[in-house]
Symmetry: C2
Subunit: 96 residues, 2 copies
Amino acid sequence: MTHVADLHTVLAALAEPVRLEMTRRLFVTGEAVGCAALYDTVTKATASHHFKILREAGIVERHALGQGAAYTLRFEEVEAAYPGLLAAVLNAAPTR
Amino acid sequence: MTHVADLHTVLAALAEPVRLEMTRRLFVTGEAVGCAALYDTVTKATASHHFKILREAGIVERHALGQGAAYTLRFEEVEAAYPGLLAAVLNAAPTR
């Protein structure tokens, strides 16, 4: 299991609007979400890049789903590493 | 008075290690701090660049101090815009 990355990496991952929106949708849903439902303003290739950064930051986890993938938010892991951070960010995140 | 910037801008400002450390020192001190006491790993020119980004994000305020400058943290303003965010980030910030 990936560890949650250092604070700078986590903040940089969340600072990008597309990635913040992916994270927000996972939080709102509260369960695994197919990757195509997590973005709608970028190409699939760009989305893959953003998913990779979120995974490497330890914010999301990828799950194989047929030929595609689904993601879950690692809320408890991020909360344990940086208490209050993800909740504060998600509460402040604009709804798209 | 500068407004606190959008969430992406604030997170990006805090994601950079030198700027996070400047912010952390202002928080720990709790009062105006001369700019030279807020960094020690970068040149003055680089520090000026980072101060500008923090100012434009609405995180710090600049005060003229003789021929130099001092800064204060706009904790209450950021707290009002994004409740819990700055406290969570600063609690998680490594001490340098």
